[in-house]
């Protein structure tokens, strides 16, 4: 009974603390564990595509090397840097929330959204370039003008994986931007402070995870095999 009474007191003192947790530290730990569990399912989801990529890359290595001719390293590298910047501003948003700096939270979150949007705009230009060059497998693939005609068929597997992986990644970015919008609205109402910032921390984890996926996508899709004659 004494413990129950204590829990009720704590809940009155801190309205964000749910009654089934002993204190807000335990509540945050539980939320973190749940979020990581979700992120691990995401790791395995993307992992399946990475596995497919590794296998096809091994089976049709020369054909895959020929596709790097069409990858824009400058745009890909720019996007990598943009995402790293967005991760920094996201981490700053979490830190500001932990310190109850209401204004900085909003500014950091908006910065993160700007970087995220820049990433998607660059991605749009990359996709439209692929569309113009006729590199969309199944819909618009120009097998005749492919620069190494004998690999035109196998190369489509890589372009399929390219669109599947970067497309799934971009979809995660769009979802992330939606979540960030929610955070900005809440942060403007001063909903997050030192004693309760769980949503900022959780969506921060998600955003960093999406960054980690891109950290692997960039070298695998853009960098490997970008030397030599094409």
């Amino acid at each position: 009974m004494a413990e129950l009474a204590h829990a009720d007191d704590a809940a009155i003192a801190d309205p964000s603390l749910r009654h089934h947790f002993a204190n807000s530290a335990q509540q945050l730990d539980a939320a973190m564990l749940g979020m990581w569990t979700f992120l691990i399912t995401e790791v395995l989801f993307f992992g399946g595509m990475f596995t497919a990529y590794a296998i096809y890359r091994t089976i049709y290595s020369e054909a895959f090397a020929s596709t790097s001719h069409y990858m824009n390293v400058i745009l890909g590298g720019t996007n990598t840097a943009v995402l790293i910047c967005s991760s920094l501003s996201m981490a700053m948003a979490v830190r500001s929330a932990q310190l109850s700096r209401y204004k900085t939270v909003v500014i950091s979150l908006i910065l993160t959204m700007i970087f995220g949007t820049v990433f998607l705009v660059v991605k749009y230009f990359e996709y439209s370039e692929k569309w113009r060059e006729g590199l969309i497998p199944g819909i618009k693939f120009d097998t005749v003008n492919y620069h190494v005609p004998q690999y035109a068929h196998e190369a489509q597997i890589l372009f399929f994986l390219y669109f599947a992986m970067t497309g799934m990644h971009a979809l995660h970015m769009i979802v992330g931007l939606g979540l960030l919008t929610y955070l900005v609205v809440k942060a403007r109402q001063k909903a997050f402070n030192a004693s309760y910032y769980t949503p900022v921390e959780m969506i921060g984890l998600y955003w960093h995870f999406v960054d980690v996926v891109w950290i692997f996508l960039f070298p695998l899709l853009y960098l490997i095999g970008n030397r030599g004659p094409h």
Binding site: D29, G77, S87, A91, P219, I224, N226
Partner: protein, 121 residues
């Protein structure tokens, strides 16, 4: 109170700087012909970058032991998926795996030749 650690601005900014430098490095190295080493270096740098993000930005460094156990477990499952699947492809004999498709004939041919099954050793 393990998860309520507040990272310093200095540590966050230095991780950001390290990530940007590593991105430059990996782009630079990709232009040097090193054969198979290119893949290894690119993946190694990606692994370092991902670890930095997870360790500092995602706060694994200060997270609860149970959370860390989950993170490691997730990586173990990922390894199992990649290693065992690759092992299957590396050791199984695929008789009908096309080494290459024949170049596409002009669009007017209605009967497409069936790709020959090559790779039968």
């Amino acid at each position: 109170m393990t998860s309520s650690h507040i990272p310093s601005t200095k540590s966050l900014v230095s991780v950001w700087a390290a990530l940007i430098c590593l991105t430059w490095t990996t782009v630079g190295v990709s232009y040097i012909e090193l054969g198979e080493l290119n893949v290894v270096i690119a993946l190694l740098i990606a692994l370092i970058k991902a670890s930095l993000v997870a360790w500092i930005f995602m706060g694994v460094r200060f997270s609860a032991p149970m959370t860390r156990l989950f993170v490691v477990a997730g990586l173990v499952w990922l390894t199992i998926m990649i290693v065992i699947t690759s092992g299957d492809y590396a050791t199984r004999r695929y008789d009908n795996r096309p080494k290459s498709w024949t170049p596409t004939p002009p669009a007017n041919t209605s009967t497409k030749p069936i790709p020959p099954a090559v790779g039968n050793k």
